[in-house]
Symmetry: C2
Subunit: 163 residues, 2 copies
DNA sequence: TATTGTTATACTCTATAACTATA
DNA sequence: TATAGTTATAGAGTATAACAATA
């Protein structure tokens, strides 16, 4: 049995700490950390996204995403309209209320992001990101992880590491 | 709104990928990734552990741990005995069956750990670990994170980083 | 008084499988 | 045939609060 601290376990602890912190920050708005991630994906995806596309972006499941969307829809934060081209699909987007709330959530979570950034020097931060991407790519089922998706971090770090 | 890829989101993706991979590896044994983590904590804690201690070790909640233990107990993988000293506490330990299963689970997850290790050179691995610990420590509520708990990685990496 | 653990309760996330409607 | 999404269903983890027993 392998001894010593493990990247896997440490990754887990780091993620759980982040998740709880985020949940706490969102709590007074009645939103969970995962819902925040979903809403953020919608904000970034300027145009509306289909549910499948959303699932891919947040690394989740269409059925899970649907459950989450139903909850957000009840709160009037998102709407699911008919897709202009594909009648099977639904266009998901934030409502004005959803967008407004997301801005509040973003502000509420600012301290967390600041805290994180303060922990690392710029070089360390980009190296950390590179490690995380490498890790994720290697453990993701479908090698859908089109390396073009992370153009900023697929290399570069290695350069100065061995300089 | 901050642009660019985020450590927080990347950490999330990396963790989710790991979690799913682990769940898949454990599936045929009827065990979840989280239950595996819990069992591993029991294996490492040689002596029996109390439920509170377990909760702390896997960064969870006493109530959550209890729910998990109940499930494992039903399968005969753990037992909760009276604590020898503190009658309020319960001593949790793996049964022989639990220990046997854990060995199988450990083997079943070996490819994942190997894969992870193969991704990083030794120096990178220890630096990655150090980043994760730093991250976790900064985001953990209680600064319970006794730095003596990670003696192997509280420093060292920085040394060669700036060499 | 403080702490360990239980109980009750509730909600979110997760995921599979069978189904429909459309492509 | 394949795909988008729904539905039904189930289970696992999470967490809070009230409580009993013990320290």
């Amino acid at each position: 049995m392998t001894r010593g601290p493990h990247i896997a376990l440490s990754l887990r602890l780091a993620y759980l700490a982040l998740h709880r912190r985020t949940d706490q920050a969102m709590e007074r708005f009645g939103i969970t950390a995962d819902q925040f991630v979903l809403m953020t994906a919608l904000v970034r995806g300027d145009e509306a996204l289909t549910q499948n596309e959303l699932a891919r972006r947040i690394s989740s499941d269409p059925s899970t995403v649907r459950a989450m969307l139903v909850l957000l829809e009840k709160q009037g934060l998102i709407v699911r309209e008919d897709h202009p081209i594909d009648a099977r699909s639904r266009s998901v987007k934030l409502t004005a209320k959803g967008l407004r709330l997301h801005r509040q959530l973003w502000t509420a979570s600012e301290p967390i992001r600041k805290r994180i950034l303060s922990l690392f020097e710029p070089k360390e931060a980009s190296l950390f990101l590179e490690f995380l991407h490498r890790f994720q790519a290697a453990l993701t089922d479908r090698n859908t992880s089109d390396s073009s998706r992370h153009p900023l971090h697929d290399s570069g770090a290695k350069k100065w590491l061995h300089a």
